[in-house]
């Protein structure tokens, strides 16, 4: 498991959005994002960045306390120690007061044409 220096997230909201700044949890500890831009109301895009500087056994985006959050798409870019940054893209998911979203993914395998 690499040390995660920082990560950037871009979240595109679908039909329902909490319009409220989210938080994240690393290894069970809740943290605020270091930077935020945009919004997470319906149809909006929110850009976030966090700097955990730690080894992520778990990394989750916390769902809204009230109502539902329809996430249409998430783009995550990780800066890890000892390697170049990498990006993963996630599809649609709905979060609520009883759910969090896993946002930690190892570097995807390299795919080449042969």
């Amino acid at each position: 498991m690499p040390r995660l220096e920082s990560f950037d997230m871009k979240i595109k909201t679908g039909e329902r959005g909490p319009n409220k700044a989210p938080s994240y949890e690393i290894n069970g500890f809740k943290l605020d994002f270091d930077e935020m831009a945009g919004g997470n109301g319906p149809g909006e895009t929110l850009e976030l960045s966090g700097e955990p500087q730690s080894f992520p056994h778990s990394l989750v985006l916390i769902g809204p306390e009230d109502g539902a959050w329809d996430i249409a798409e998430v783009q995550l870019t990780y800066q890890v120690m000892g390697g170049p940054p990498y990006t993963v893209r996630l599809g649609a998911v709905t979060l609520d007061g009883e759910s969090n979203l896993n946002i930690w993914y190892d570097r995807p395998p390299k795919v080449i044409d042969v």
Partner: protein, 263 residues
């Protein structure tokens, strides 16, 4: 720049300082009878999206991609066509390939392969550790070998292999027997449980539940424990696929691999 550790604990210190600095005339609250239990949330996994790109179709008309996994010393070739429809073919050595899969035999004869699995439109090769080339160089070389073999009409499985295939019910019964008598009793001490979801052709689909779900050692349990037990009782078993959502595991037995256990 501060780490999450200092952010969390500095915040806690500030909150403690604020609470001790409260004015003396503030009414003392009655202690709450029962602290509220933290709400347990389900961790969801969103589907991972692939990059949209047009596959490069080389001369000869067979597009092949190679997924390179250095940590496992494995290359998985993804073809633009089915290699083996309805069945899969597992070759743990050259002799097995000779009896079952001419295409896998071409891989062994190219050198460097320890095992080959042919499944649907994929062919996965794990190296034997003897080669000097990088995994990417190996993948490019084998890609050429595989393309030539397919152009020459080399079959993914022999007729004898397919003709002697036991029924899905027979394979299911063999696997269920070993799960009930050997595997589940063995992993019960880790609160684990294996479920055979279905058998399609000679491919088995399982779920790893309880302490196995999300366990850092689950891939070792699958490869060295379950798979070897399955293959001992069902020699015609092809691919063994784990359908568990390991990200959603709520009580994994190991969250990190213990010292001495490789990934």
């Amino acid at each position: 720049m501060s780490s999450w550790f200092s952010k969390v604990f500095d915040k806690k210190k500030q909150e403690e300082a604020a609470s001790t600095a409260a004015p003396a005339d503030v009414a003392v609250k009655e202690p709450e009878a029962e602290p509220a239990m933290p709400k347990v949330r389900t961790v969801l996994s969103a589907p991972m999206l692939a990059d949209e790109e047009t596959p490069a179709v080389p001369e000869g008309g067979i597009a092949i991609k190679a997924r390179i996994e250095d940590a496992k010393d494995t290359v998985t070739f993804l073809f633009d066509r089915q290699l083996l429809d309805g069945y899969s073919c597992w070759c743990p050595n050259r002799a097995a390939a000779e009896a079952t899969s001419p295409l896998a035999l071409a891989v062994f004869d190219a050198g460097g392969a320890a095992t080959v699995l042919v499944y649907a439109s994929t062919l996965a090769v794990t190296r034997d550790g003897t080669g000097r080339e990088s995994l990417e160089e190996y993948a490019r070389r084998l890609g050429g070998v595989l393309r030539q073999a397919l152009q020459d009409g080399v079959a993914a499985a022999t007729d004898d292999f397919l003709a002697g295939m036991p029924s899905e019910d027979e394979i299911r019964a063999q696997l269920q027997e070993v799960i009930d008598s050997e595997i589940n009793p063995g992993i019960a001490s880790h609160s684990g449980v294996i479920t055979l979801n279905r058998v399609h052709g000679n491919t088995a689909y399982i779920t790893m539940g309880g302490g196995c779900q999300g366990c850092a050692a689950s891939s070792i349990t699958l490869r060295q424990g379950i798979e070897s037990s399955f293959r001992a009782v069902a020699p015609k078993l092809g691919a063994l696929l784990d359908e568990t959502d390991h990200q959603a595991g709520e009580n994994p037995y190991f969250t990190d691999l213990p010292a001495g256990m490789g990934a």
